[in-house]
Symmetry: C2
């Protein structure tokens, strides 16, 4: 069977499964999720044996230690995956919720009911735990999922999917609700991205390169963010202790993630006081600073930030710093160089807080809090399937609700249109 035929067959099965899945009760979906959690633990030996094949191959291919680390399934990662499944089971089911309902003058009762999107394609890189996480969120939201992980994790991903699918069969949910593309051939992705008649949405998870490749090829709508160039603007009225604490948290608590701060903007009137304080703390934590000319007047021993730095997502202990004249210049900088991801203002000024919240065009805008809160769990969505900086459908962290849409339901008693 050609790869094209194989992928079309998978997508066709997904579509059929999705139609059934849309009407399966929360009770049954939750039962499946809890059993899946148990089965991952019960089948630890099988999963680690399959995972060992991937690790062995990764070693031969000369992948880095960090990569192999992310690839590894052990008791602790499997327990984490099982916990994740239980947490998804505990979340409220978005499907069937009637989000609003109103009566028309002709007595038609019109409502919007949440329904699953249908078939979701997830394209991701090395971590095999995404297989269980994404499958759980799609199942709970009534969607069929087609998973395409990295070639380096193929044995692990197929083994995890096997366990999950065995449970589906036991609880009478179509197994095709969760499918992993069984080949590592790149052509499978290209074929998958053509199938807009079967697949409703593609969510790529990984580096910018992966995401651009998916967007370039896809005929299916893609929900994505390329990068997170997150800013903090410390306004002249900021509580400077708070500003230092938030900047430290946003830059150093986990520098390799998309909601870490990459550029710090500072109001000129507090630069002389604030910059040396925050710079000392950041450098003590190992952060390399790059500054504009005005920053370097105050911190002469740091590197110059070039035009490229303002666009950069370092994902590392590096920070670009710019002194600005006022909030307008700060917001203009964000508009020009930002990635629509997450920005925060530190201020005690009411008007500036409101202006920043209203005028900054990013998916998460904060006042007096760390950019690190831009996250599905932290914002209270209960889960996170991804973050979107595309405004269509969802903007910002996406939880279960964002894996649904609404249809109109209309109760009449014989109305005709005149």
């Amino acid at each position: 069977m050609s790869i094209k035929t194989q992928v079309i067959e998978i997508a066709g099965k997904s579509e059929k499964a999705a139609n059934i899945l849309a009407n399966i009760s929360s009770q049954v979906k939750n039962k499946a999720l809890l059993e899946m959690a148990d089965e991952l633990i019960r089948n630890m030996d099988y999963l680690t044996t399959e995972n060992a094949k991937d690790i062995d191959y990764a070693g031969k291919k000369g992948l880095s230690g960090a990569m192999i680390d992310r690839l590894t399934l052990d008791e602790s990662t499997l327990k984490g995956m099982a916990e994740g499944l239980k947490e998804v089971a505990a979340l409220p089911d978005p499907v069937g919720e009637v989000t609003s309902m109103w009566r028309r003058p002709n007595d038609l009762l019109v409502g919007r009911m949440r329904i699953p999107l249908g078939v979701i394609g997830i394209i991701y890189e090395s971590r095999p735990n995404v297989t269980a996480d994404a499958a759980a969120l799609c199942l709970k939201s009534g969607n069929a999922v087609i998973l395409r992980g990295g070639s380096e994790a193929i044995n692990s991903n197929l083994a995890i999917a096997k366990i999950l699918r065995d449970v589906l069969r036991n609880v009478n949910i179509p197994e095709a609700a969760i499918q992993v593309i069984p080949t590592t051939d790149r052509q499978a992705v290209s074929e998958m991205l053509k199938l807009d008649e079967y697949i409703d949405i593609i969510i790529p998870r990984g580096g910018e390169e992966l995401i651009r490749a998916v967007v370039d090829q896809s005929k299916i709508p893609v929900i994505k963010h390329y990068k997170g160039v997150c800013h903090i603007f410390v306004d002249e009225s900021a509580d400077l202790d708070m500003a230092v604490a938030i900047c430290m948290n946003a830059k150093t608590q986990r520098p390799g993630v998309c909601n870490a701060m990459e550029t710090l903007l500072i109001h000129k009137d507090i630069a002389e006081t604030f910059l040396p304080r925050v710079a000392k703390k950041l450098r003590d934590a190992g952060v390399t600073l790059r500054g504009c000319e005005n920053t370097r007047r105050i911190l002469p021993d740091i590197e110059t930030a070039t035009e490229d730095d303002w666009y950069e997502e370092y994902l590392d202990l590096v920070l670009a710093i710019r002194v600005v004249n006022d909030i307008d210049e700060a917001m203009a900088h964000i508009e020009k160089y930002g990635s629509l991801h997450t920005e925060s203002i530190i201020t005690s000024d009411y008007n500036n807080s409101q202006r920043f919240l209203n005028e900054v065009n990013s998916s998460s805008v904060l006042v007096n809090a760390s950019t690190r809160f831009s996250d599905g769990f932290e914002l209270g969505l209960g889960a996170e399937i991804g973050i979107s900086t595309t405004k269509l459908h969802a903007f910002g962290p996406m939880g279960l609700e964002e894996l649904t849409t609404t249809k109109f339901i209309i109760y009449g008693n014989g109305q005709i249109r005149t």
Copy 2:
């Protein structure tokens, strides 16, 4: 200047305008809309003169009378356009609405605020009134719009846009908020559909061929429906008088639109009684009937419906009829042949009404009402920019809210992540 450069320049201006437009108050937007309504009437001579160029050219090209009719701007169509603008001014502004807000355990206050999508591209066919309608809805929802109408209406569209843009300038809204692509060259559409860095969403309005061509080329998400193959299922428990009235309305009130009924499904146990009654009425109204074998046992003189008929959007006084064993067979037919647009059940049975509403996977699902109500105005959205049968972002008729998205706004008092 090449067409490519020209289109990129337009899109760049749109993006800049969109950033300003997002924060213009309802008051100013409404003032603009009301002035636009006045100016369309005041400039009737100019508009009809420009329109005459299009009509003249259409005559030379040999376009049909119906086409020329749709193209014509006269006092009555201009008054209709002006009324439309006033109605949009009177609608509530979706921008800035905080749709929900909740407090997290760490005291962060998290909300979702409605914001415009950004830049909207509308690609449409001959009717020049779409230029004013679409521009008004985009303006009200804070979006910049790039309009690309049919080549046969280019002078009319440019003239309408000129009037609207003159008003924008008067009220200090960037003129680039409303732009018409000034060339009729097809390359302009191809170039436009590549600009996913500038344009957030494309809404094509027209026949299936136009829409498919747009989808095939677009790198930008497209909100669309290809066709409306709408079904009515008359259940065995239906009130037959009501069923006749609704079927007549759905098929004959305006057969050329996407929410007209195209296929009638009838429960076998009432077919003998119901079919002759409804058939007589339909035929009196000039409807040609095509039926399945069981239908033809009862109505032997009608044509046979072929497999192709079940997929057909006639947009005409033609109806396909099928007798089904039960609601399951009716829903299976809809799933197989339907277009996810609009379906209605006529029933007095509680369980069947609920099953139909829950299980039918279309964007509008009705009980005991005509499919003709699947329309933004009729459902109470206040306006309609289009209908989506794509589940992403919006599903069903789209009003002003569907031209927005939400961003997260977060009020903190120094929270850092631990």
